[in-house]
């Protein structure tokens, strides 16, 4: 159960090697979390992440989960929920893709869309159903500021996140009154392994800042979290910039 400050006792991470998710897990373990499930494709990185969290005093399990294999989600995640209540589900999987290559190879672009959007839809619905049955819990969805308005530079990734964002918002409204909270997190540019080598954009953050914002959002029972918070204002303005002008902006 979550305590009065929204700190969970059990956590399920979908995308168990995500740097943001692991930073969040570390913070939550320091608060109240004792049981952690890391879901992801079996890999040495996943086992290493589990071992690291175990060292911090949590009881960590890994579970096989492939975002692209939507048909398997119900069984894979059902097993986790059968073991006991999950207070927070953190949907952190996603791929950035390579915009230039993806534009040339449609199948690679579809893969980005399937991972970020279709996979999240099936996993999100499975988790929402399980959380609804237990009458409490939070579903934290890692969206992106890229989904707020499509940019020339990353519209394939951006469009998949736009779909995910809209799905998560609607799911949150559908779950009003069921005791389940859906929190949409929209970080800006985050310095991680995936973005290493890319040119850094304004208002860039690190995984630790995003993790801190997630923990604060859980405490406040927020519906939308921007990281950094100032992006909310920036994006509100950018959204209304006329397209001919937006196209020319260096963002």
């Amino acid at each position: 159960m979550k305590d009065a400050f929204g700190a969970p006792q059990s956590l399920l991470v979908l995308g168990g090697t995500s740097e943001i998710a692991l930073a969040t897990a570390r913070r939550l373990i320091a608060l109240r979390t004792r049981r952690v499930w890391l879901a992801g494709r079996p890999s040495p990185a996943l086992d290493a992440a589990a071992a690291e969290l175990r060292g911090r005093g949590a009881d960590v399990h890994t579970v096989d989960f492939d975002a692209l294999d939507s048909a398997s989600h119900e069984v894979a995640l059902g097993k986790v929920f059968a073991e006991g209540d999950i207070d927070v589900v953190l949907m952190a999987f996603g791929v950035l893709g390579d915009q230039a290559r993806d534009e040339q190879e449609p199948m690679a672009a579809v893969r980005v869309a399937q991972t970020n959007y279709t996979g999240a839809v099936s996993a999100g619905l499975v988790c929402a159903g399980a959380l609804q049955a237990q009458g409490h819990g939070s579903l934290v969805v890692l969206s992106s500021v890229a989904g707020e308005r499509a940019r020339r530079a990353d519209f394939i990734y951006g469009s998949s996140k736009a779909g995910l964002d809209a799905f998560a918002q609607g799911l949150g409204d559908a779950l009003q009154g069921t005791g389940v909270q859906v929190m949409v997190v929209r970080p800006g540019f985050v310095r991680t392994r995936a973005t290493a080598g890319l040119p850094e954009q304004p208002l860039a953050t690190g995984p630790e800042e995003v993790a801190e914002a997630i923990v604060t959002g859980l405490r406040r029972r927020s519906e939308t979290v921007w990281v950094p918070g100032s992006l909310r204002v920036v994006m509100a303005a950018l959204r209304h910039v006329p397209r001919p002008l937006f196209r020319r902006l260096p963002v």
């Binding site: 305590d3 009065a4 400050f5 006792q9 209540d85 049955a133 409490h136």
Partner: protein, 454 residues
């Protein structure tokens, strides 16, 4: 019986969860709910005054017992009354006082039910002499996991587990209470101001310790030499010879037939969370402290106004903001005053907007396995849950309290660690064992029991 699906929280409005709420109007209907429960169990709920998550059950059933509110006749010879669990103490007081009787223990609010008072084993301002609520229960009717209503007598293991048992041994449906005789409906109240915590603690025992009821408000924002200053209110039942010249012939309030005695005060409209900031709270505390009489003796006050003064105020929870409030109540044994000093100074140093803070003195521990009261001092305070860093701060206070052999009240808790709870309540193992034997399937569960592994 009405059934609906609702999102429930405690009085503190933190950690909402959703459950199916049943409002039975008879014992049979309540038993039917317990027999037909789902896999996530059932928990009883009264007026929802517990600040934490003791009376909510995520994804399960919640038995709202406020519809079970009959008060039987008073047995004048034995000095007892039988009543249903859903009767509020405020109503019980209103019905009994004109007859010259008083509920045995009156905690700080009348908005709790008899069932809740037993399940939380609430102490009153006269705990030193009277003990907690469940000590005055002579018979208990308990609906257990098999759907049967059992009569439970004091002194049995089941009674001791149920008293302060947070509803986890079964649903308390009714009880027979031993009452107290009073000759007037007035209290003779002594109010005094204490300049610091030492002074306040000393004043509790000053003057031969004659007055049975004592409770103090502490200014948790005062720092430096004034840290822990407060206002001590003590009282005793007024006797007829204290009557003022203008008083009428009768000394007890007129019978009102159970109708509400005074109009309910409307609650405040939703207010921004920032309203209860350190500045506003410090100002309020300063005015409250300065406005109290330096020393005033034997002032006559109506009995409900003495015991339930806070009920007359509007609902101030809105001031704590959308994130709700956390009530922290802990007890420390005699001889641990130094720890109490340290905790009070730590709270004051944080400049948290603590407006409500009640200091009381406890007598001998109660027999309940999870009863809170133990000989010593008890401090209860309310803080906005939105305060940054409050979770870690209270964890630190937990450690200090546990190291001094003290404990934090389970019935008010919304944030403790399971390990801390187990360390503070040494008889928890006994409680778990009894629960495992009586209710192996875990029919009675609450968010609190899940969170703390009770």
């Amino acid at each position: 019986m009405s059934v609906d699906t609702v999102s429930l929280t405690g009085w503190g409005r933190t950690a909402p969860t959703t459950a199916v709420r049943f409002r039975p109007r008879s014992y049979e209907e309540a038993a039917a709910v317990v027999r037909g429960r789902g896999p996530r169990g059932v928990i009883a709920r009264g007026l929802g005054r517990s600040p934490g998550d003791a009376a909510q059950n995520a994804g399960g059933s919640v038995l709202d017992l406020t519809g079970l509110a009959r008060i039987g006749g008073v047995d004048a010879a034995a000095g007892t009354v039988r009543c249903d669990a859903g009767v509020s103490l405020e109503r019980l007081l209103r019905v009994l006082l004109p007859l010259g009787w008083l509920p045995p223990v009156l905690p700080g609010t009348g908005g709790v039910t008899v069932g809740g008072a037993i399940a939380s084993d609430l102490p009153g301002p006269d705990h030193r002499r009277a003990g907690s609520f469940a000590r005055h229960v002579s018979v208990l009717e308990l609906l257990t996991a098999d759907g049967e209503v059992r009569t439970v007598l004091p002194g049995t293991a089941l009674f001791d587990a149920t008293a302060g048992g947070l509803g986890l041994t079964g649903v308390i449906l009714g009880a027979t209470l031993r009452l107290r005789r009073v000759t007037t409906g007035l209290m003779s109240v002594t109010t005094e101001r204490a300049g610091d915590l030492d002074d306040l603690l000393a004043r509790f025992t000053a003057g031969g310790d004659r007055l049975p009821y004592a409770s103090a408000w502490v200014d948790l924002m005062a720092r430096g030499r004034a840290a822990g200053r407060g206002i001590l209110t003590r009282g005793e039942h007024a006797t007829p010879d204290m009557r003022p010249a203008h008083a009428g012939r009768t000394w007890l309030p007129k019978r009102s037939g159970g109708a509400p005695g005074r109009p309910r005060v409307p609650s405040l409209p939703p207010l921004p969370a920032g309203l209860l900031g350190p500045g506003a709270a410090a100002l309020y505390n300063e005015v409250r402290y300065r406005g109290a009489p330096r020393a005033r003796a034997a002032e006559l006050r109506p009995l409900p106004a003495f015991f339930h003064a806070s009920d007359a105020l509007p609902d101030v929870r809105a001031l704590y903001g959308r994130a709700g409030l956390v009530r922290y109540r802990f007890a420390l044994g005699y001889g641990q005053e130094e720890t109490l000093h340290r905790v009070v100074r730590r709270i004051a140093a944080r400049r948290s907007p603590a407006v409500r803070a009640v200091l009381q003195r406890f007598g001998p521990a109660d027999p309940g396995l999870l009863s809170f009261a133990a000989p010593g001092w008890s401090l209860a305070l309310d803080l906005p849950a939105a305060l940054p860093g409050l979770a870690r701060f209270l964890d630190g206070v937990d450690e200090e309290v546990a190291a001094a052999g003290g404990r934090v009240c389970l019935a008010k808790d919304s944030r403790m660690r399971p390990e801390t709870a187990a360390a503070m309540y040494p008889r928890l193992a006994e409680f778990r064992e009894l629960r495992a034997r009586l209710d192996p399937a875990g029919a009675f569960r609450s968010d609190l029991s899940r969170r703390l592994g009770l």
